[in-house]
């Protein structure tokens, strides 16, 4: 039986850990709400852009823009979106597992990696993968400019012909309780051409010019979407993880308290026995 002081100390430390997990849960919940708002605000912009592109692409030659070029795939770049901080359940590990499986299937030497978030950087750095760019320490004040900056780096890497395809692995926000790890192809752009939606419209300066400036903007907003989805997922995952941790610590405190009381009673019993037997001995 552990002694009373040990158990008391453990209860105390579990309680203080519980305070931390509770606080982290609250913070994650607040951040998640904000991230969700951001996602909702970004949606109309990206859906309008996508619609315009879909209207236009049937009329435009794919050779017009290098970003639309479908080349024979020899080398692939993976953009892996993780967080900077841990303590978010399986949020990071599931992205890393999926991306590494896919990369290893293609062969480590045929793949370049763009790391978003410290977790991805540390993971791929220590395993000796070819990292082109790492973006860390921006999640806490995430804004659209980060998406532009990250997007530009990736796009120019594709344009320079270093890779023939770019894929993004990220967590999609489904709801608070579940996130889905997805792999999406970012470049070259793929669209289902929907012939029915083409209406009589004026395009200025010209369809080609519109497409030329639309596509890079579309990529920026796509990148922004990935960042927002991932950020919201991270907060949701952390919230659930911390919720579980709080419940677990509750159970632990219960068990420890029980153990503590048992030990306390045992001590009292022993002491009483000693006193009684001492008194008996004195009587002689």
């Amino acid at each position: 039986m552990a002694n009373l002081k040990d158990i008391r100390d453990r209860i105390k430390s579990v309680k203080s850990i519980q305070k931390v997990t509770k606080a982290m849960k609250m913070v994650a919940a607040a951040k998640m709400r904000r991230a969700q708002e951001n996602m909702e605000q970004a949606r109309p912009y990206s859906s309008r852009l996508t619609e315009i592109i879909q209207n236009l692409l049937p009329d435009v030659d794919r050779g017009l823009l290098p970003l639309l070029n479908v080349r024979e795939v020899k080398r692939v770049a993976y953009v892996v979106v993780t967080s900077d901080k841990g303590l978010a359940g399986s949020f990071n590990s599931s992205v890393l597992r999926k991306s590494q499986n896919e990369i290893d299937e293609l062969g480590k030497e045929n793949v370049d990696v763009f790391c978003i978030g410290k977790k991805a950087r540390d993971h791929y750095k220590s395993r000796g993968y070819t990292i082109i760019e790492s973006h860390v320490d921006f999640w806490s004040n995430l804004n659209f400019n980060h998406a532009i900056k990250i997007g530009n780096g990736i796009v120019s890497y594709f344009l320079n012909g270093n890779v023939d395809e770019i894929r993004v692995v990220y967590n999609q926000f489904v709801n608070v309780a579940s996130q889905m790890v997805l792999t999406e192809q970012l470049l070259p752009l793929e669209y289902e051409a929907d012939q029915n939606t083409v209406v009589d419209r004026l395009y200025e300066p010209s369809k080609d010019d519109i497409v030329k400036s639309l596509v890079p903007r579309h990529l920026n907003v796509q990148m922004w979407k990935y960042l927002l989805e991932s950020y919201a997922s991270e907060q949701a995952a952390r919230m659930v993880a911390m919720e579980n941790a709080t419940t677990n610590s509750e159970d632990m405190i219960k068990d420890l308290t029980l153990e503590f009381n048992k030990a306390r009673q045992a001590t009292i019993t022993t002491e009483m026995l000693e006193i009684v037997s001492g008194a008996e001995a004195l009587k002689g």
């Binding site: 109309p44 659209f144 532009i148 120019s156 419209r201 004026l202 395009y203 200025e204 400036s213 920026n220």
Partner: protein, 131 residues
Amino acid sequence: MSAFTLEIVTPTQILEAEEVSYVRCPGTDGSFGIMASHREAVIGLDVGEIKITQGGKDSFYATSGGFAEITKEKVQLLVETVEKADEIDSGRAEASLTRAKGRVSGTDGSDSKRAETALFRAVNRLRVSKR
């Protein structure tokens, strides 16, 4: 004068304006105006100033470019950034102008093009902020 609904849609916010009678936008081929019952169109926008006339009053916005999508129901400006003239911090705008100037003279190649667009944006914001 008949009016229409204008929406300025960016990745981070949506500004809505009812009963707008006139919008002037910085098109890639030069500035152009939209009034009610304009024909349907998609028009590219450049860095510049948007002027909105609403109930006889004008308001000015700085934008870094995008598209105007005109449909029968409404006019949507899909732009990457938009800032109302009186909300632009002219001190900050001035600082970014100096920074952009320094970058333009200090770089070459593909970077210089990026620096130049940054300079355009900075000049534009400063100009609009003085409205």
